[in-house]
């Protein structure tokens, strides 16, 4: 007789141990919700500008433009200078390789700014905040500015209207 109670107990445990739907619970990040139109309008335009200081850092845009044109030099005299695997010497000699971190960082920051301006344009188009129209104009201006940077530095322009689209690449004239 006792064994029957044990059988019942075990079957009970199978049911209790439970089946779950396996939805991922994220504990340390949360997407922001419940923003007002004003917060959303301001919040999508501000990040468009925040990439700018990093782009113009001395190791990024400044180094790419100044050292490659010999307006500034960064020599290596052995041992304790900025040897950095020869990236500044390569800039001077116009032999920059694809692994150059300064080129990569400049590029990354410009395209992030470009991506954020496109996101801002699409979000602000339907925003009802009174400043939304001005912000939309600013976002379009910034998109143009970043495209000018990519054209000037790399000879490329990315044409993209919606963040979900694939960009169309247009190349500048090679002079």
């Amino acid at each position: 007789m006792k064994t029957i109670y044990i059988y019942i107990l075990f079957t009970g445990i199978i049911i209790i141990s439970g089946c779950t739907k396996l939805n991922e619970e994220i504990l340390d990040e949360s997407s922001v919700t419940g923003l007002t139109d004003k917060q959303l309008a301001e919040g999508t335009l501000a990040p468009v500008y925040t990439a700018l200081p990093t782009i113009f850092q001395h190791t990024n845009y400044f180094a790419l433009q100044e050292i490659s044109t010999d307006e500034a030099i960064l020599p290596y005299r052995g041992g304790t200078d900025w040897g950095d695997n020869g990236i500044y010497l390569s800039l001077h000699k116009h032999e920059t390789t694809s692994g150059d971190p300064n080129v990569r960082n400049t590029w990354n920051n410009i395209v992030i700014g470009l991506s954020r301006s496109i996101t801002a344009i699409t979000t602000l188009a339907t925003n009802t905040d009174p400043n939304a129209k001005t912000f939309l104009a600013e976002a379009r201006g910034m998109r143009a500015y970043y495209s000018m940077l990519t054209l000037d530095l790399f000879g490329l322009i990315f044409i993209k209207e919606d963040p979900r689209d694939i960009s169309k690449v247009v190349r500048g004239l090679r002079l």
């Binding site: 396996l22 949360s30 052995g78 695997n85 390789t97 960009s167």
Partner: protein, 1003 residues
Amino acid sequence: MNKTLFLKGKAKLYPLFIIFITSFLCTKAIAKESFSFIEERLITGIVLDASTKEPLEGATISLKKGSTNTISDKAGKFSISVLAEDGILVISHVAYATQEVIITSTTSNIEVLLEPASSEMGEVVVVGYGTQKQKDVTGAVTTLKSSEFNKGIINSPQQLLQGKVSGVNVTSATGEPGGALKITIRGPGSVRSGSSPLFVIDGLPLDNASTGGGDPLNAINPDDIESFDVLKDASATAIYGSRGANGVVIITTKKGKAGTSILTLNAGLGVSKLANKIPVFTADEFRREVPRAGGTLDDKGGNTDWQDLVTRTALTQNYNLTLSGGSKQLVYYASFGAQRQEGIIQNNSLDRYTGRFNATQKLLDDRLVVEANLSFANTKNVRPPITSIIGEALGNNPTYPAYDENGNPAVYQNVLNNPLIYFDLDKEVGTINRVIASISPSLTIIKGLVYKLNFGVDNSNGVRDVQALGSTSPPRDGRYENYQTHNRNTLIENYLTYSRTISSHTFSALAGYSYQKFFIQEKNFSINKIPIGGVEPIYNPGVGTELTLANNRPGGKATINEQQSLFGRVTYQYDSRYLATVNFRADGSTKFGENNKYGYFPSFSLGWRISEEAFLKNSSIVNSLKLRAGWGRTGNQEIEPKITQALFISTSGSYPLYSSGPYPVSYSYARFANPDLQWEVSEQTDLGLDFGFLNGDLSGTIDYFNKKSTNILLQVTPADPVQPALYVWTNEKDMIISNKGIELDLNYRKRINEHLGFGIGGNISFIKNVVKNSPYTIIPSGSAQGSGLTSATINGYINGQPIGTFFLPQFIGIGADSLNNYLDADGNGSFSNDKDRVVLGTGLPSRLYSFYGNFNFKGLDLAVNFNGVSGNKIYDNTANSIFYKAKIAKNTNTTAEATKYPNESNSNTAPVSSRFLKNGSYLRLNNVSLGYNLKTQSMSFLKWASSVRVSVTGQNLFVFTDYDGYDPEVNIDRNIESAVSYGIDYLSYPKARSVIFGLNVSF
């Protein structure tokens, strides 16, 4: 009985059923009663090993008919009550062939000689959710028993396995006590970390996440481990589904045995020294080399060997106490262990205190068996800043005296500090407490049908304090950091097993459900500016005086990950000759995207015991020959959590959008949702042959395997660069990582006479690893470290090449301009650092091999273990960053490697190139152990002890290698964006050479 006329259909069976049950119960009662009317008598006897004539303890003696049984004691003696009439006694013992003895009415005392079974017969292999007899296994499974483990100072279980199982590559990252160990089975199948096998301890699958420092398995006392079962091929690991792609290592801890009561005491004392010094210049050589390199000598008149000063002779103590025993109804095992290990670098130590208790209780006439396991471990690791100390010990000027006139470490205004300063000012203390517990009742419902329930918990808490005190010379502020880690793994699983034998058909079936939840949390905080000479911030962080969000922002992260699975297995054996196994598992995880929530992992394998066929059955040469073949699909679910979910958050930085007022908060997408992300898939085919010749004396296995990993998860730059985040996670559809190879194991043992015996053997594995169809020309990995090397990469994942490939410019000598000359690989007339890189070997070995020998003569035993690898290279990042001519010209110490080229300019750069790529093959005498078993009977004060053994063990006595760094077994983590690096050595902690004296006493 009349009622049967009124019942229809199946209902007619119910009364029959009731009658059957009651008559069954009644017969049992009658049988019991009649039993008492017939005379009982006692039969005594002794059980001995047929060849050694040693008494066998723990043999089971039972009546063939009936349930009486007993166990032989320490002296092999037993006594059993039997009916006065004739009967048959069955005597059996693990690893021996079962014997039957007919007892007549005159039998009263018998002597039973048991023959050792050939290794295949009695051995039982743990295959995941159950066991199988070795002879019935159709997958590639290797069992390693505790007598075969590596000996010496052991920090974590992987060291016990190193070199012992073919196809398994165990590499320590550095020689640091408690340091992480990388273990791959049959080659890595992933670009990211997550090539580690699944570890299962007493039925609880563990998580491989870090527990706060060092290798997470440091918490397991190696002396508690009875055996490892390594599941290598997919037909064996598919039962673990999405965690089986990298193989499974099942750890079984020691358990008590019925009929015995044992108390053992083990004590060991080890002495360790630096095995191999790096040959930097001595003070006199330095005085000669600096001017020769064109530099101005800075000579302070001293004669310092910095490496000697920062290392020491380290002492390690190890104590273990175990109690085990039990009766037929209850067996138990308890152990307490303490190991206090000093590292060979000063101020480095690792202490481990462990306790374990397990018990198995049988109830209800052996129908209910409850196993309970409980273990706790406390590890404390104290370490100084290792890379700074090693870097400065190697590079410091040997003419600088180490101490000033007051006996304190001298302080120099120099690029390099005196490494001795760190010992007073810096330390890191990490304490981890871990509890692993499980309870599993199994109930036999009807004969052959067993239901098992398993609850398990693995809880770990770690705290790590990193303290850098302030000082005036050298001038520094000081900083204190604190990291807390909490890991919890809970498991609930239940499964039904049914087994049945009908004439020559044997089959079994398993079906089960498992749910496991992993919670991992980390938190940290810090504070700057520690006042000099005051309280250490480890005890009171409040003494720090500077706390800013810029430098001291607290941090943390937490993830919950759940997994739910259904699994099943069917095995079939016909006439012990034809074997088949089918495994299946369906796994779902919260980490997988919505569109791919569940993965399905089937496998099947066949076996043919050729030695049981009529033409070989009575052969005296061939004892066992089994051919096996299997195929399976498994998964690797070591993927990042959260990557399938979108993330829209506030980002740092802002901009004034209005002419006045506060800056607004910025929001942007950090990640778009990707519901297609899933596990990595691995498909493996295995073909194997197990053999045993000459009465089981010569045995071995050969395996051929072909493993393909697909759906490789990578974090890559998206093709369209205009994205909110720089990297996107994707399962590459076309990319394949292929591992193909052959493994060979061979063992020979011979017992020459009752005093003398020996065994030799070894294994060798050939593994060819190739990356195919990668859509990327190169995925770089292995970022170089050191001044002037920022952002240089060493490894690369390239199509047609193995994982861990070195992709470097090829150095071809010093040119006429006294500067580096590199190969112009694309022949365009000039050298460019990216276009002219060449594939120059890999950090992965293509051959792993090992051999062992053991020898025993009377009470003396000797065991020798060698292991080695070849086909791999090592990138010496240490030499790249500090051993070149420009350094010696500036009074920084180097080795002779730096002055190798007399015509080299002393302002020549040292970028990443093949100049620092070296051969990494090695053969190491891993451990040698010599022991002597004292004859306790003749020694008066020890006669209570059943065995006393003294031993001396040498660990890492020598290593044959061309590599001139500290040790060729090295693998520093230099991952780039989750792509793992291989074969890089940068200021790695040197390996020690140790001698350990041991004493084992059993009562």
